[in-house]
Symmetry: C3
Subunit: 209 residues, 3 copies
Amino acid sequence: MNELFLLIIEIVGTIAFAISGIRLAAAKNFDWFGAYMVGLATAIGGGTVRDLLLNTTPFWMLNGWYLGVTGLSLLTVILLKRYLVKLNQTVFIFDTVGLALFVVIGIQKTLLFGFPMWVAIFMGTTTGALGGVLRDIFINEEPLIFRKDIYGTACIAGGIVYWAIALFSDSVILQQSACGITVILLRVLAVKYNWSIPILHNYSTNEKE
Amino acid sequence: MNELFLLIIEIVGTIAFAISGIRLAAAKNFDWFGAYMVGLATAIGGGTVRDLLLNTTPFWMLNGWYLGVTGLSLLTVILLKRYLVKLNQTVFIFDTVGLALFVVIGIQKTLLFGFPMWVAIFMGTTTGALGGVLRDIFINEEPLIFRKDIYGTACIAGGIVYWAIALFSDSVILQQSACGITVILLRVLAVKYNWSIPILHNYSTNEKE
Amino acid sequence: MNELFLLIIEIVGTIAFAISGIRLAAAKNFDWFGAYMVGLATAIGGGTVRDLLLNTTPFWMLNGWYLGVTGLSLLTVILLKRYLVKLNQTVFIFDTVGLALFVVIGIQKTLLFGFPMWVAIFMGTTTGALGGVLRDIFINEEPLIFRKDIYGTACIAGGIVYWAIALFSDSVILQQSACGITVILLRVLAVKYNWSIPILHNYSTNEKE
């Protein structure tokens, strides 16, 4: 039952990520093929790069539902586009819960491969955040998460909490729950209170003036 | 003789892909080094990503002629640029035949690695179409095949035909020929009759109005 | 002592590469997270792609100081930004010496994996130059080294010198020194005398006129 619960979160998160990519592809007037590919890159890109770095077969090549669920997401956007905008809040929740789970999955898998915690935190962040970067490269925009929102930083914070809990407790459930809740809380609070990471201003043009 | 025939198609296809990249690099006034790299990414990028996903050594690291033929393509564009434009039709034919062969090679290699047919179709499409996406990322444009032409979709269709034939016949030659011919026919007809994949219009701006 | 010397060069080179990425991210008003990621891609991107192609675990996953030194580079840019501009010359020297070492490391590692010299030259160039290309993709610009400067070409020239020396001498020290010095000399002279690789002009628009 616990595994079923996690599977449902993973599917819901994958759909939310794919929809985020498909909607931005739609804003660029991509065709269905392009939208599917951008959705796919958003949904599975982070985990794919993680698995390439871990030198293992990408997860989605061992289980067909990732490609299938992305197709379903495309169909949803095509058919329900007018209603989907009203569901922005819901998509945000799904996206955030998915993000938290992806970070936990990335950390767990990396630790299973025998790497130290700092590599695992990097991989958790990669799993959660790199799909959105690939999405923005595909649609030819500056990556959104490099410019605003607390997104990648929420992944890192979640990873550090995972690490901190692991120093005091051997309970993997506790480590993973604390990590996931940290990611969700930080992201929700950041959006609610408009928190952001400091901007690195362009000093060189200032100097030239 | 059959192998020689396939080798010739592969070389011709590689040259056609490389020339497509080099010409777009020229349109951006890249230097010879940049043009070579864009040509190379176009020619071998799809197969390289396929081999990384299959967790095997990229094909071009085992045989020097891919890098050599890309150099030859650069030389051709430098020397014959005025004449090349008149050969647009010829380059299109070479590009299309190369595409068909790349899809077949991608499917065949993936099946040899023991993956199911749906992974093979994905890899055939990746082998054929991802080089063009990498090319457009390098020249900082929205990927052309995400916006117009039936290109990636022709690869998928070829893969599905491969699959369908495999249900009725064990003849690999038949499966591969049918796949390749499907890709070529779809692409040629699409250009001739101006077929395209439906655009995913930007509903969110519509909603905002 | 020799190894300590090489380690210092590698750290200094990594910092110079990271700073180059962080400064360009600052010019785009990225936040600290984005700047760190762009700096990291610039510093370790080339070697990471090399290790993926060599089908081995990326070097920075085995040693924490690459991620740490990139963080230090970010801190340096944040704190010392006004002074850093006056150090442009110094950063250029560090960047060039780092480039030379990265090319040598890339060639050496590829030869250790049993690949022939032409693959090693490609990998040396990838190690040295691809980080800058990834940096420009992340900040959504046309790759600088595809348009101006003798950068990638200096890597290739260094690799060819490595090869040429290896034909006459078995001394790895001699091969590597000659390779590194070639890269440094070519890059310094190119900047000093404004050398560049010929541009591939856009013949197709010329034709249309």
